[in-house]
């Protein structure tokens, strides 16, 4: 930080101190600032602390988004979103789901396994245009054969079997097939503050890749269901 910035920063602190002297009740844990001022200071710090690198751009990475804005605030406050607000956000995200134009939800589970294994893509050391991975195994158990899986998300082993899917093309299973597609496309449509990326919505995976992941989870021949 330059000297000018330091001065500006000190001034911001003193100004906040003067304005707020005597209303300690509204301040956060003796930080001498209100929560709103701390939010503003955080945004200022973010603006001054990050720079574009490789394919990752500051303007895109911190673009305002009503979903993450609401969830971040809820995490900071340590209070879950109200059921009503969560529903609003889920509805907002539901609208972004692009369903397969040809009505084909299932691809090749073998391709799906490759995508699930790959954690590549979208970091500042990745190249533009290269196929992204789904990062699935980083957080989920999926097949029994792969022992190196993360535990941030629930186990997806036997995902289709548990849900009684024996023929994923039958009309009886359409609801669960659509849910699986939608969850991968935009996880926040079903759980407002889900830890899971919005793979389709954010352009991490394309329609064909989503098809392959759906097959990995729902095809009775997939090792997930055997």
């Amino acid at each position: 930080m330059t000297r000018k910035n330091t001065l500006r920063f000190s001034l911001a602190f003193s100004a906040a101190g003067l304005v707020l002297a005597g209303c300690a009740g509204s301040m956060q844990q003796g930080a001498g600032m209100t929560p709103a001022e701390l939010d503003a200071l955080t945004q200022k710090v973010v603006k001054e602390s990050f720079r574009d690198k490789g394919i990752v751009k500051v303007s895109q990475a911190f673009a305002d988004d009503p979903t993450t804005r609401a969830c971040d605030a809820s995490d900071v406050a340590g209070q879950p979103l109200s059921a009503e607000r969560a529903k609003e956000i889920e509805a907002l995200n539901m609208k972004t789901i692009r369903w397969p134009a040809d009505g084909k939800y299932l691809g090749d589970w073998k391709e799906g396994e490759k995508i699930a294994q790959s954690g590549r893509g979208r970091t500042w050391t990745d190249k533009a245009g290269a196929a992204n991975g789904g990062n699935c195994y980083n957080c989920h158990q999926i097949t029994k054969e792969e022992i190196s899986f993360g535990t941030i998300g629930p186990s997806l082993y036997n995902y289709g079997k548990i849900r009684g899917v024996t023929d994923p093309n039958s009309p009886q299973t359409l609801e669960i097939v659509k849910y699986t597609w939608g969850k991968i496309w935009n996880s926040k449509a079903y759980n407002a503050c889900s830890n899971m990326p919005r793979a389709g919505h954010a352009g991490i995976l394309d329609e064909n890749q989503v098809r392959h992941i759906v097959a990995l989870l729902l095809d009775p021949k997939s090792p997930v269901n055997r």
Binding site: V45, F50, D52, I147, I152, R198, I204
Partner: protein, 266 residues
């Protein structure tokens, strides 16, 4: 030799039945880490750092022996476990690395840009890494006790908390996506819970550390930088306020836990 051992441990695990293998792999890695404790290559960086502290360097041909790391000029023991903290002379909250940069600039006349715009493992930034390793090692087994007496320190804790929970980038990841719950893993890697109850020598209390997989010494700045890379965020500028505020948040949360610095990592 070191890499061969790890490969052997992992290869063994790959052929084993799965429940046993998970247990065994992390046990094996823990065993392997313990084995290395006797010969942590971080010692080489410690020795280099001590040398750099005492050596007359830079345009002013001065040593860093008068550098004030928060406990008075020249006091090194115990300084690490109280950083980041507020410094009246710069009017800023600073972590160990940004403070070292200030001392190198003020005492030795070394341009901070050489570190801030430098590259990992090269030039003056590599020197700061060695210095941080040595300074950190002088507080080994001491308990973290970051001051929160200054308004700026308390404000930075609150800013750090907001940064910890800030989702962003293409994947909506925040620090909390991986480090917000107890007992989680990415693949087989155990993740420290950084917003909750801290443990001795884990998370904040483990950096600087020697990374066996890359054969590099990593400081907290380097650790945060690579976390943000994996988070699909843009690059945090070295010693920027975001990195310092996160340091305050993590460090205050680690209060009372013992420092394992310099640690050794996979």
């Amino acid at each position: 030799m070191r890499k061969t051992t790890l490969c052997a441990v992992l290869a063994l695990a790959a052929f084993a039945p799965h429940a046993w293998a998970q247990k065994s792999t992390s046990d094996g890695i823990a065993e392997y880490r313990e084995m290395l404790q006797d010969g942590n290559p971080a010692e080489l960086f410690e020795a280099k750092g001590e040398d750099l502290w005492k050596q007359k360097r830079g345009p002013r041909k001065a040593s860093l022996e008068r550098c004030d790391l928060g406990k008075g000029p020249g006091v090194v023991k115990g300084a690490f476990v109280e950083l980041p903290r507020y410094f009246a002379d710069t009017g800023k909250v600073q972590d160990l690395e940004s403070r070292l940069v200030t001392c190198m600039s003020q005492l030795q006349g070394i341009d901070p840009k050489e570190v801030i715009d430098g590259a990992w493992g090269k030039g003056e930034r590599a020197n700061v890494t060695a210095l941080a390793t040595w300074v950190g090692s002088q507080s080994k087994d001491m308990k973290f006790n970051l001051p929160q007496s200054q308004q700026q320190e308390r404000a930075f804790y609150e800013v750090g908390k907001r940064l910890f929970f800030q989702r962003g980038g293409s994947h909506d990841f925040s620090c909390a996506s991986c480090h917000g719950e107890e007992g989680k893993r990415i693949r087989l890697q155990d993740l420290p819970h950084l917003s909750g109850k801290a443990e001795d020598g884990v998370g904040f209390a483990a950096w600087p550390a020697y990374r066996v997989s890359s054969g590099e010494m990593w400081t907290m700045q380097h650790r945060l930088n690579d976390c943000y890379r994996q988070q699909r965020f843009p690059e945090p500028i070295y010693a920027s306020d975001a990195t310092i505020a996160l340091g305050v948040y993590l460090g205050v949360n680690a209060r009372g836990t013992k420092s394992a610095v310099p640690a050794i990592k996979r």
